[in-house]
Symmetry: C2
Subunit: 147 residues, 2 copies
């Protein structure tokens, strides 16, 4: 059984692993079963409820894909540290202005030039189910976290 | 229509994009529909027939997953260069000793300590169908290559 203390520790661990990695690669499945990935800038650290949040355009193809198949992967890699993280989760589109204001940070302007005034801007919420990670400290043996 | 010259140019372009990136993240779909990824060290540059090759353990879970669902994604990221590449393809297990000898390189010893004497060693061949990439030169607009 996973207690809430274990869960907090797991989230803390996972936060530390990805915090210095600016962007992850979000992989989704298209309508033909093909797998595609694209970079997504981290908007915030992993929330205490085990969710990851990204800004997106609501009418982008990945959102269409997620509405059909919610299962996604987000990978984070830090080649300099030889650190690799795989996050498996369930994605959903969230159009909540308050949440957007809470999560917005100026670095995201590179992707959304008009900031929160972009007409199509929305959030992608990924509920983390499992994470696996490899790094030089663990001799590249996979370590797993289930949330 | 894609001519063979176009295809050669596309492969040349893609090779250049990933050649300095030591490892990619291979994403597969498990028996429950969850998406998992793990780092895979590049064994060689993209071959002229549009295939990518990785060494693997034949009895690993990812091979089991691939035997059920051949569609995979391999992503390569180079945060320093702000370069992100998504490769969509079809994976298959190949147990060909000659091909293994052709592709082996000493850097792979970090993952396969006994080298080609590992009892379970095999190859994963990924036939590339499509690649998308983003970098600071293209102002993060996605560029696509279909092979």
């Amino acid at each position: 059984m996973t207690t809430s203390t274990d869960k907090n520790q797991d989230i803390y661990k996972l936060r530390g692993l990805i915090k210095d990695i600016e962007s992850g690669m979000l992989t989704t499945i298209d309508e033909h079963g093909s797998l595609h990935s694209r970079p997504m800038a981290q908007s915030t650290e992993i929330q205490s409820d085990g969710t990851l949040w990204f800004f997106t355009n609501a009418s982008s193809h990945k959102v269409f894909e997620i509405e059909h198949r919610q299962q996604v992967n987000v990978s984070f890699t830090s080649p300099n540290q030889q650190r690799y993280i795989s996050i498996s989760g369930i994605a959903e589109l969230v159009k909540d202005r308050n949440k957007m204001q809470e999560l917005w940070k100026p670095e995201l302007q590179a992707w959304f030039s008009q900031g929160l005034d972009e007409p199509d801007i929305a959030l992608l919420k990924v509920k983390i189910n499992r994470a696996d990670y490899w790094d030089s400290h663990s001799s590249f043996e996979a370590q797993s976290i289930s949330l």
